[in-house]
């Protein structure tokens, strides 16, 4: 199989994955016990009121028709309307999604830079470097997001007053202000990620650097920098990228906590507030956005891994 057929196959495979995902998102909300309309309208709503509301929302139609209608809307970029503000959800998403994207992408980039650098360093470093990074990994993976976030706020916002404790301005309005608001949430979210990436990079590098091919490189007179960067990291990269992809899902989950903690108007916070308000269409749209993001990141990761390791596209064991 050539790389091109691999890419085409992987792209085609994404379509059913996305479709199954819409089914899940749609069904989960219908399977939640209780009637959303009754919850929404409260105790005193008359059966007539409820019936009218159900009809307005299309909830009196058979499930499959509701699904087809919703899916048809999705294909045209129509996510339905917010139950409370009645505004189109697609508009709401176009405001919320960039916030979540900025938060998660910046966090991931920071985590990659720290994790890969320290991981590679630990793989070739002295015993002291190794025990230092060991400690950092244990701290990073065991400190919960919300606790780290609170500590950072206490230190940098409450005590030192260097950074705002919460809030948000769009990047387009005030780039510097936007970044000031982003520093603490990004640091909070990146902490654990960096630890995971460090651990993965270090493990992958250590196993690569023990391979006989490294002795062959030494026999060719290749210097230590090229051996570590050109061959060690290069061989560890597919493993590291795969883990980064999986961790991106974890990061999206963490974004819900961090957005709530720092008052960032992202998709994560939208999901939390909408659940509290029984605003099911908004929950549905939010979950769909996050899930789609994860599917697309997984796709990108698979393509990058196949590009990094020619054996993947050929279906040869590594």
């Amino acid at each position: 199989m050539t790389r091109l057929t691999f890419v085409v196959r992987r792209l085609l495979l994404t379509i059913p994955v996305l479709w199954v995902m819409t089914l899940f998102v749609f069904m989960i909300l219908r399977l939640i016990p209780g009637d959303p309309v009754r919850t929404m309208l409260g105790f005193r709503a008359t059966p007539e009121n409820v019936a009218v509301a159900r009809h307005q929302l299309g909830l009196d139609e058979p499930l499959w028709r509701q699904y087809v209608g919703w899916l048809g809307g999705l294909l045209h970029g129509d996510l339905g309307n917010d139950l409370i503000s009645h505004a189109p959800l697609s508009e709401l998403m176009s405001q919320r999604l960039p916030v979540t994207l900025e938060l998660t992408v910046l966090s991931m980039l920071l985590a990659i830079v720290i994790g890969v650098t320290l991981g590679a360093w630990a793989a070739v470093g002295s015993r002291r470097v190794r025990s230092l990074t060991d400690g950092a990994v244990v701290l990073g993976v065991s400190i919960p997001d919300f606790w780290l976030g609170i500590m950072l706020v206490l230190l940098f916002a409450a005590t030192l007053g260097w950074l705002p404790p919460s809030g948000y301005v769009p990047f387009s309005d005030d780039p510097a202000g936007n970044l000031r608001y982003m520093v603490l949430p990004v640091a909070t979210l990146a902490g654990a990620e960096a630890a995971y990436i460090l651990r993965t990079t270090r493990g992958a590098m250590e196993s690569v650097l023990q391979r006989p091919s490294m002795t062959y490189l030494r026999a060719k007179g290749i210097g230590p920098f090229r051996m570590v960067a050109g061959h060690g990291l290069r061989n560890a990269a597919p493993t590291v990228v795969t883990v980064i992809g999986i961790q991106f899902g974890v990061l999206l989950g963490g974004a819900i906590v961090v957005e709530t903690l720092f008052g960032l108007p992202g998709v994560g916070r939208l999901i939390v507030t909408s659940i509290n308000q029984r605003n099911y269409p908004a929950v549905q749209a939010g979950v769909l956005a996050v899930a789609t993001l994860f599917v697309l990141v997984s796709l990108a990761v698979d393509l990058v891994v196949a590009w990094l390791d020619p054996r993947v596209a050929d279906g040869v064991g590594t």
Binding site: S213, I222, H231, P310, T318
Partner: protein, 331 residues
């Protein structure tokens, strides 16, 4: 340069030991050996007798824990006392090495061509394009068909024989004076083995590279080697021309080794196995290390016999050499 005058590579009383729970393992014990320019010198011995250790010591590739003494002379330098930085400049340039399994030698995510070009650029100040052109030329020289297309392919798309050709091309990229090949055909099919040996022989003839060919297979020796050094338990027991070794082995171990190979003894001769066991290198026998297994051993053998002889008959380290006596009585 030194090529036409002295030996291409000379080992002088080389000793290597590895620390172990049972005390130091003496893997190479006082080996002196000269590799002449233009020749293919076979180094044979059973598995575990220290062949790879000797090769790695010559290349300066032993782990830090290894204790090395003696000298490895390349030209007028002793490689055992060079710093890693200086060694790096020599390895892949003046002395190169090919390992047993090309699948584990090559980097699986680099293209094969880049792995050849890499050796050139590590030692020569040439542009990427120039390195690629030279690498392509080398790939053609080692017999890779449609080298241009193969250049950009990863190793896993190639057969074992083709991969070993790539490894050899990379080793020879800077025209080294010495090539050490450690069991270069052991991981390959028999038919491919012969092709790789022919390739090495042809390259030696065209480029004048001295080759130290390490093998446990006397068949390989018979095919291409000019001279043979026989190793037993970390010591050299006999060094002679290939013809001498096969027709008049002088050391009892060499003789036993030949008898153990099917098809090399007299027709109908049985495959004999050398009785006894290879000694524990952490506590080797004093004197001749083969003595405990040797049918001709006497008290004398507890003193280590020196490796002595002449150009015509070769050298043997034995108090009771075999064929040479026979030949003398026959004369």
């Amino acid at each position: 340069m030194t090529r036409t005058t002295g030996p291409a590579l000379a080992l002088d009383d080389l000793r290597v030991s590895f620390p172990s729970a049972q005390g130091p393992v003496s893997a190479v014990d006082g080996v002196s050996l000269e590799l002449r320019p233009d020749e293919i010198l076979g180094l044979v011995g059973e598995s575990g007798c220290g062949k790879s250790t000797l090769a790695n010591a010559a290349m300066g590739l032993l782990p830090e824990s290894a204790e090395v003494s003696g000298a490895v002379r390349l030209g007028d330098r002793d490689l055992t006392i060079l710093a890693e930085r200086d060694l790096r400049r020599i390895r892949g340039d003046e002395i190169a090495m090919v390992f047993q399994d090309p699948s584990t030698s090559l980097d699986p995510v680099w293209t094969v061509g880049d792995q050849v070009a890499e050796t050139i650029r590590a030692h020569r100040d040439v542009s990427r394009r120039e390195a690629k052109a030279r690498a392509l030329k080398l790939m053609r020289e080692v017999g890779i068909p449609s080298a241009e297309q193969r250049y950009g392919e990863p190793p896993h798309r190639m057969s074992g024989g083709m991969k070993q050709r790539i490894v050899i091309a990379a080793a020879l990229a800077n025209d080294p004076a010495v090539l050490i090949a450690d069991e270069p055909t052991t991981a390959l099919d028999v038919t491919i083995q012969a092709q790789i040996l022919q390739l090495l022989d042809g390259l030696r003839q065209r480029r004048g590279t001295a080759v130290l060919l390490i093998t446990h297979d006397l068949g390989v020796v018979a095919q291409v080697c000019d001279r043979v050094a026989v190793m037993y338990a970390g010591q050299l027991v006999e060094v002679a021309t290939t013809e001498q070794i096969f027709s008049h082995p002088a050391h009892p171990y060499t003789e036993a080794l030949l008898r153990a190979v099917p098809g090399t003894g007299e027709p109908g001769a049985e495959l004999t196995v050398i009785p006894g066991q290879v000694p524990d290198l952490a506590a080797p026998p004093v004197g001749c290390r083969f003595a405990p297994r040797c049918p001709f051993a006497t008290e004398e053998c507890s003193i280590r016999p020196p490796l002595e002889g002449d150009e015509a008959h070769g050298a043997v380290a034995c108090w009771h050499p075999r064929s040479r006596d026979r030949e003398v009585t026959a004369r």
